[in-house]
Amino acid sequence: MRDGRGTIKRKAGLKLWLSGGWLAVVAVLTLFAGWISPHDPLTQDLFASRLPPFWAAGAEPGYLLGTDSLGRDVLSRIIYGGRVALTVAIIAGLATAIVGSVLGLIAGYYRGWADAVISRLVDIWMAFPPVLFAILLIAVLGTGLWSIVIAIIVIDWTRFCRVVRAETMNQSQMDYVASAVVAGHVRSAILWREIGPNVLPTIVALLSLEMGIAVIVEAILSFVNLSISTDAPTWGGMIAEGRISIHQAWWVLVCPLIVLFLTVLAFSQFGEGLKDRFDPVLR
């Protein structure tokens, strides 16, 4: 019989392809940055400062997206900045997902005191403004990749914990869990083998979303000058510089902003698409 499923699948497929395609492009560009980027991202050339992008009057060939106030090539800086963004997205995203999901699964399945402790911890955590918390952590830990990863785990594990806990509680009510008990599974096996796979699509969707959020957090930290280091190119750092010279050289802000915008959008849409694809009822 015909129903709405065909169209849902088609839409999910399109979402998945567009967002996945963009992420693949960013990944390839940053992975092979050494070969692809036209200039060194750090080389300053004060005689070629604030050159506009190629379509505007006064553009120099070779500087596709123009240069910033210190004469550094914007395109090259975006490509190298992508390295930082993607590294942070993958490491921090995965680590946050693991920490938050494990705690969420335990709280949602075992309930009792474990749930009481974890839930209270989540409540306390939710009383902090995340961005301020992250900035504070970086100030204490010092700048650097690992500080950023730790800061993201610390501020965002609750996102996974809350959602996974609720979903686990939902799934635990289902009779397939009772039937696994009747079959003779031990409790831990039921959690990992029966409930786990049913919670996984939720985790995957959140993970993808979290990677986008990690990119943003990194950008925000760079924006307040608290990221990897002051001279490495980062999208957030470029935005901060572009914000200052917005009236003189708008492209220094606009170009990284568009890339950041698309990347964050792609991460979240990729997660949604994966979730739709994984959902057995829609397949």
Partner: protein
């Protein structure tokens, strides 16, 4: 009776949460490697300076001892003295709080209006092109955080078509007659609509940036629960009674559909307030968040602690208010 008990329990929970938050801030600042005094002082300070300052801030005592000394002060309203501004923390924080509150509340109002309108329109014209457009808009609003919306707004409405101001809270050239820090509120009371308009022109973009993600959440969730409610028998029954679609949505479906959205708004509103930290920075808006970032950059420990705790208090109060509103709207809880 039930309501009073709920209130008492929530207050107890609030106290626990705040205590936990205080402990965590304290621990993060002091236990994590790195000497807070070294962080406070410029590089190259002598050992003697460090020792003197350590004793001055009581940092030579054990950590639990330090904590209770600090907590004792906090309970008396003494948050210590700001290192960078050399003033008591409490009045500094209270002086900035109104600006952040006005911004957050304005953003919340925007979010409710935009989100509510999207949900109602989407429900009224469900299944059509209008709903598809609203879904796409909601999807974009949900995926992109306030930080990016703020930048997009600065570029479009601040630079390309400069309709609104992109920095500050109010134009510096204006004479301010205000006695409180609640400028928007006071400007209305004093009937100074010129000032009010100037304030709004400064507040609009940061507030909109903060509001967009929340509006998308409200739009999506409220629409979803409205649509679910529209299939329930009592709504179907209302239609067979001869009521039109608009009446059915507004008078039969909305009230019950709002409840799940309301619980979510609580948490999301705290996220919105949390977002003010970076948004205020972006728009150079003189609120608490902007001050917080300066405090971190200046390594001003007492000020950081004070600000974080005020945020925590604000968040727990917001959640409390939402819970109580929920209880008041739900007849099951009201009469049980």
């Amino acid at each position: 009776m039930r309501l009073l008990q709920t209130l008492l329990m929530r207050l107890a929970m609030m106290a626990i949460t705040l205590f936990g938050a205080a402990v965590i801030v304290f621990v993060v600042i002091r236990v994590v490697p790195g000497n807070p005094i070294a962080m406070m002082l410029p590089p190259g300070a002598s050992d003697e300076d460090i020792a003197r300052l350590t004793a001055h801030y009581g940092l030579d005592k054990s950590i639990p001892e330090q904590f209770f000394v600090w907590l004792g002060g906090v309970l008396h309203g003494d948050f210590g003295t700001s290192i960078s501004l050399r003033q008591p923390v409490m009045p500094l924080v209270l002086g900035r709080l109104p600006a952040t509150l006005e911004l957050s509340i304005f953003a919340l109002v925007l979010a409710v209006i935009i989100g509510g309108a999207m949900a109602l329109t989407g429900t009224r014209f469900r299944g059509g092109r209008t709903e598809a457009v609203i879904d796409v808009a909601n999807g974009a609003g949900l995926s992109i955080p306030d930080f990016l919306w703020a930048l997009v707004l600065i570029l479009t409405l601040g630079v390309l078509y400069p309709v609104f101001h992109i920095s500050g809270r109010i134009s510096p050239s204006l004479d301010l007659p205000f006695t409180t820090q609640f400028y928007v509120f006071e400007s209305i009371l004093r009937l100074r609509f010129d000032l009010w308009w100037d304030l709004l022109k400064h507040m609009f973009m940061p507030a909109l940036a903060l509001a967009i993600p929340l509006a998308a959440i409200i739009g999506q969730l409220l629409k979803q629960s409205l649509k679910e409610t529209m299939h329930l028998d009592y709504v179907v029954l209302a239609r067979t009674k001869g009521y039109g679609e608009n009446h059915v949505i507004l008078f039969d479906a909305l009230r019950n559909a709002v409840l799940p959205t309301l619980t979510l708004i609580g948490v999301q509103f705290t996220f919105l307030i949390g977002g003010t930290v970076i948004i205020e920075r972006l728009f150079s808006y003189e609120g608490l968040g902007n001050m917080a970032i300066d405090a971190v950059i200046n390594r001003d420990l007492p000020l950081i602690q004070g600000i974080v705790l005020v945020f925590a208090l604000l968040f727990t109060v917001v959640n409390l208010v939402v819970d109580l509103t929920y209880a008041l709207l739900n007849p099951r809880l009201r009469h049980a």
